[in-house]
Amino acid sequence: MSRLFLVLSIATIGGCSGQIGDTAPETPPPPTVPPPPDTPAPPADLGSARWAALPNTTPGAMRRLTNTEIEAMVTELVGEHIGFTDGFPPEERVGGFENNAAALTFPPTLFERAFDAARRAGEIVASNPAPFAPCAADTRNRTCGEAVVRRFAERAWRRPLDDEDLTPLMASYDVGADQGGFELGLTLAVQATLLSAPFFYLVEDVREEVKPGLLALSGAERANRLAFFLWRGPPDDALRAAADAGDLDTPEGVEAQAQRMLDRPQAQRSITEFHRQWLELERMTEVNKDLQYFPNWTDEIPGKMRTELDHYLEQTAIVEDSVEALLTARYSFQDETLRRYYQDGIALEANGFDRVDLPPRRSGLLARGGFLIMEGFDQTSPVLRGLFIREKFLCGELPPPPDFVDDIPSDPTPAETTRERAEAHANDPLCRGCHQFMDPIGFGLERFDAAGRWRDMESSHPIDDRGEVVESDIGVFQGAAELGAKLAKSEYFRACFVRKWFRFAIGRMESKADLPTLQALDAMMATTDSYRALQLALTQTDAFLYRRAEDAR
């Protein structure tokens, strides 16, 4: 039953490399296009070949918190959202996610911004320190200050403090108290705490080997892994207490806590963050359309589509907890503006973003306006839509177009449909090698224009929206709704979904040694649609429960 995961390394098909002729008179003779690295030859068992080709992924031992996680930490500590990470440089994504340990660097600007933000946070805490130490309600001396600082730093650094930790923080306190008393002392000590490495980094110590190549984690370390996976934020008191009591020393104990945590509101953040990163949702609000072709487009549309999609994700992924619902649900959440815009025949009266039942053609994630507008300015881009689906839903990896290829399509003309124009270039044998994996998928979405609306005709030509997903278990389809339904049943999609979640949970790319884990997860995911089940299962994997010996070097 467990099917080995297929990743499309496109050069395996052989057509994606080779020389491409010069079609533009001014361009110089093109260099040979080399095949992408790490491309296995097409074997019978494509899954294991891929693992053999992958190098072991880089260490994930010490990981910087992402901006989202830092903000969650500060909100938890300070008691309010203060925009601590405003102006922080965004993270780089690896394998689609921001929490890749190897890729999370520390840009100079980040510390600069954090320096001022930490001072602000310090001032807020210093104005109301009592939550950290009861003495602060009526005492303002150094002993009480130390109690506040100790408690604050333990929570901020997510571990107990020793004297060597405390001394430099209290040295800052002393400078501040000397100049401005208790409050300035606390301000500086808190500022220093929030700028220190133990705040920004999750660190795991080297411990004993418990299985071949796997080292133990302490209770506190497992608590951090649980909290930052399931909540994208710090552990709560109950989780810390469970860690202290040794409850997290067994996989069953970990699962019990995970169950509890998945019931808490913080768990929504994990789902929201997964989808935001997986589907690159922040791109949506930057979208612009050519008013010459889409006169109904206004600047407020992308923001509204994003809101629609946020509600849709909440309902399908969180409330219904179903990846099948994500891909096939026949409802959405639209306000009057969107209903008027989409013209799907839905009654216009709305009280904000109400739930609506949709015509069948609009079922599923792939038919959501926000998804459909992400590519293309004056016309649809079957290539880019196809590429997005190939990469996000099937974990395909295609090399970029050769540098000298003009990757902007020709202008729309009344003479041909977008599909016909794209087919013309894709039929070039030198282009087809890669484009066969993208264009036919995008063709199946052509009944939705680049601005997310349904159309039957394209400049007086009827639209042919038959599509195909080659090299997969999906095959031919027609329209976005059918593609969604087929993806929901596709083992290839399920395996890709598992790998995306693995990266999101573990903070590194999957490697050869993870194959048994992934196969077990694939098997489980073949029997359920539940996000929760997958998250729980991930907390039970070796990758989550232990640390790799190689990461400790």
Partner: protein, 461 residues
């Protein structure tokens, strides 16, 4: 004999690092170790190309450009004009060049102007925005694959300034992406521009207290905080394996950068400018004129005060669709740069496209005027360029480049210099810039895109 003589310029990397001469400007601080003021560089990044027919000067004996009769174009042929515009294929130098419509605002500074033609970008298309400053391709996640010219220069002339390199913008992009950043610390590491005048002001000027006592007190506070973080980082580092130690080193570098920032003094001769209005709407299209002025004023003062010697200024970002209502141009910028020639109002659209470029030249001219008033213009070099010539073709050949200013009087300015077509890539220009500042380098960016420094631009020895 000036240190910046031609023989030095041609020298390879075998020689030792050479100190740079003192300069006359009153507002610069003298350095103890090296001689003062190594020069200043500002890279102005313009998106979406410029209409080359009205950027490049008419060549000698040529006819001033007029719009063609587009009604004659075949309706099925979407492009009426040649894919790459050139005034000619061969090398030439014209000191009597007429200022084109786009370059007309530089008239008061014509003596310091060099217009370069037939330089190709490393890559065409919108991604060329990053290539024009790095001279390297982008990777498949649309990030640069190497350091940009400003950051490379900052490593030499920005080491002792509070901000080794400053990135400023107006309505610029906010995520690391080839279309949003021209300044890159290195492969994959973008230095994004600050588009918010309030935040820029805070970074540059706000943390400077009014008097020395307050300054000393604040310094003590800040230093104590930094000491605590440094100590903790060293403790952590001692527990870690090699790969993780490198991560902590990066973090430590950031701390030391801030530490150095704190220890710099602001020039006595500089005046702290007024803060921008609180809550200023820096994203508003209707305020772009004022925002640009605010940003350029802050940048000029930062340079004059020695807070930085190297900067990039980004107007919007590549493939932007911003409008220019104050110019009477309502069509969006990306649309204007992608006309087909078949539009009924094609000439109006092109005029809009040119007006935008010209307006940007006016802003640069304003900036030069500010620098002159602050006595910070001598030994300053501005480079203004864009990743494509006419963006409709997404073609990176023959990109518009203007150099304004001089370093040590090395450049033979006040010319239109045309190179032989297809001979040089932007890397040669960027290398030339670095060598003007005394950086001993043989190549910049992708090595095989370098041919040689452009000695044609220099005064003869």
């Amino acid at each position: 004999m000036s240190r910046f003589d031609r023989r030095f310029f041609l020298r390879g990397t075998a020689g030792a690092v050479i100190g740079l001469p003192a300069l006359a400007s009153l507002s610069r601080r003298a350095e103890a170790q090296t001689t003062s003021a190594p020069g200043r560089f500002v890279f102005f990044a313009h998106p979406l190309g410029m209409y080359p027919e009205l950027f490049f000067p008419t060549p000698p004996g040529g006819v001033p450009y007029t719009f063609p009769d587009v009604s004659a174009c075949n309706p099925r042929q979407t492009r009426c004009r040649p894919r790459t515009y050139r005034t000619g294929e061969t090398a030439m130098s014209n000191p009597d060049f007429p200022l084109s419509r786009t370059l007309a605002p530089f008239a008061p500074y014509r003596e310091d102007l060099l217009v370069l033609e037939n330089i190709d970008n490393y890559s065409g298309n919108h991604k060329g925005y990053t290539c024009m400053s790095t001279g390297r391709p982008i990777n498949d996640v649309k990030l640069a694959t190497g350091i940009s010219v400003d950051q490379a220069l900052a490593q030499h002339i920005g080491r002792d300034t509070r901000f080794p390199a400053l990135q400023v913008g107006v309505k610029s992009g906010e995520t690391p992406h080839a279309r949003h950043a021209v300044s890159w610390y290195g492969a994959g590491r973008a230095a994004l521009p600050e588009s918010n005048p309030e935040r820029l002001f805070d970074r540059l000027f706000a943390s400077t207290p009014a008097n020395n006592d307050d300054l000393a007190r604040l310094r003590a506070q800040q230093q104590s905080v930094l000491d605590a973080t440094l100590g903790q980082a060293q403790r952590l580092k001692a527990r870690l394996g090699r790969a993780d130690q490198l991560k902590v080193d990066q973090y430590l570098t950031s701390i030391r950068d801030v530490e150095r920032r704190l220890s710099q003094t602001v020039e006595a001769g500089c005046s702290r400018p007024d803060a921008p209005p609180a809550g200023y709407d820096y994203k508003s299209t209707d305020l772009v004129e004022q925002t640009t002025t605010l940003q350029l004023d802050l940048l000029a003062m930062a340079l004059a005060c020695g807070l930085t010697n190297v900067a990039t200024f980004q107007m919007a970002f590549e493939a932007t669709n911003m409008r220019h209502p104050w110019l009477g141009v309502d069509t969006r910028w990306h649309d204007l740069s992608h006309t087909s020639g078949n539009e009924d109002n094609w000439i109006d659209l092109i005029n809009g496209y040119v007006d935008i470029a010209r307006w940007n030249a006016e802003q640069i001219a304003y900036f030069v005027d500010r620098l002159q008033r602050l006595e910070a213009w001598s030994d300053t070099l501005i480079m203004w360029t864009t990743p494509m010539h006419n963006a409709q073709y997404h073609n990176g050949h023959n990109i518009p480049i203007a150099l304004l200013g001089n370093i040590g009087n090395q450049l033979d300015t006040n010319r239109h210099v045309r190179f032989a077509a297809g001979e040089h890539v932007i890397n040669d220009v960027l290398l030339t810039v670095l060598r003007l500042f005394g950086v001993e380098a043989d190549t910049f960016g992708a090595p095989d895109a370098n041919k040689r420094p452009l000695t044609e631009l220099l005064r003869s020895a």
